[in-house]
Amino acid sequence: MSKVLNDLIESLKCLPGVGPKSATRMAYYLLQRDPDGAKNLANSILNSFKHLGKCKSCNNFCETAVCDLCSDNGRDNSVLCVIEMPTDLLMFEQTHSYNGLYYILMGRLSPLDGIGPKELAMNSLYERCKDENIKEVIIATNFTKEGDATSTFITELIKDLDKKISRIARGMPSGSEIEYTDTGTLAQAISERKNIN
């Protein structure tokens, strides 16, 4: 096999879930079926690296120093929602129920994978939370044990800043029936029930 083609296949293998077989299939597809698409892909990747940086305020990828969402005056700058990944931001935006700002950790603390506070740049989050306008920090990391540990860490980290700290609620998915809910979720729901009177 030509070295150039081999390099392309090797490069495609860096994508998550792509092994040698899929990489070979992708390489042949791009070269044979969609050369324009391939050129666009190559340019877009190069462009992203050239122009994209991190938003100073929320740590999301953007082309300017501060992203559009963070510079939007219509948003409530007194609440900051801390999330793991940019895809989580999209999910929260789809709810149309949150109008505050975000901070994206770009991961979660997972000591067994070698990800500690330094790897997640927790000190930048601390600096962000110092902002006087922020009155409440909502921790919306995943409900995995790693997400919970990240939440604990952040709570300890920012507790001296005197902000309200909250964690998103967990429990039964909406529209679900108890009979068909998994036991783990149900156990959490009963253990973390809330008062309604």
Binding site: G116, K145, A149, T152, F153, E156, T183, A187, Q188, S191
Partner: protein, 234 residues
């Protein structure tokens, strides 16, 4: 094909495998530390997802054809522990040490039962430090490194009032015999032997001793979970 049915396990850690699967590292009641392949466990609607989390005992069914066992089914079979806050971080610390030190496929159910009991106590949110010291000692014992606390290197009983030097692999010796290792008062060794951490000095000194021993036995490998303790360096 051998099949293990409804066996008690604790998840220690999971790694993504291929597009939708997980490799599950677990501590099992009778087979020690094992690896299981959970096919499709990362699919959005996989029923396994909610169960394959650490710090909760589950019953697992797997087939045993090779080193990597395939997980078929899990059932929830114990009360919800819900480790929170610092207890959760202690749990990660214990899991990291088990993953680093305990070899696969060899362990006794004594250690499993001990781990189970430790988690139950952690969930009660009391005295984390003494629990961690006890865990470190038991883990070393499980690995075959007995930490001798009631007698010195020469088999003489520990004098609570005298200072000793504790060296890994050797034990405690009086300063005129050896000054290698960690300097420690006899009372601390006796308290640790009796699992009594009510004195502040015992807590402090036992931490130094265990930190030294763990560093020795992990080959100076960094224990990442420690970075998660912010308030207090455990």
């Amino acid at each position: 094909m051998k099949r293990v049915e409804d066996h008690n396990i604790y998840i220690l850690h999971t790694y993504p495998f291929k597009e939708t699967s997980l490799i599950v590292e677990a501590l099992s009641e009778n087979f020690g530390r094992i690896s299981l392949l959970a096919k499709g466990a990362r699919r959005p609607r996989s029923l396994l997802r909610g169960y394959l989390q650490p710090f909760q005992m589950i019953q697992a069914t797997w087939s045993n054809v090779s080193d990597l066992k395939t997980l078929y089914n899990v059932e929830w079979n114990s009360k919800y522990l819900g480790l929170k806050n610092q207890a959760l971080i202690c749990g990660f610390y214990m899991n990291e040490l088990i993953m680093k030190l305990l070899p696969k496929d060899e362990s006794s159910n004594v250690f499993f039962n001990f781990y189970h009991q430790q988690l139950e106590e952690l969930s009660l949110n009391v005295g984390y430090e003494s629990l961690l010291r006890l865990f470190e000692l038991k883990l070393l014992e499980e690995l075959g490194y007995k930490v001798n606390l009631d007698e010195d290197e020469n088999g003489n009983p520990i004098n609570p009032k005298k200072f000793y030097y504790y060296e890994a692999e050797y034990g405690a010796s009086l300063p005129d015999v050896s000054t290698n290792g960690v300097k420690i008062i006899g009372q601390t060794l006796i308290d640790m032997h009796n699992n009594d951490y009510s004195h502040l000095n015992t807590l402090k000194q036992s931490k130094l001793l265990m930190r030294y021993l763990m560093r020795f036995y992990t080959g100076h490998d960094l224990v990442k979970s420690k970075e998660l303790f912010l308030t207090n360096d455990r």
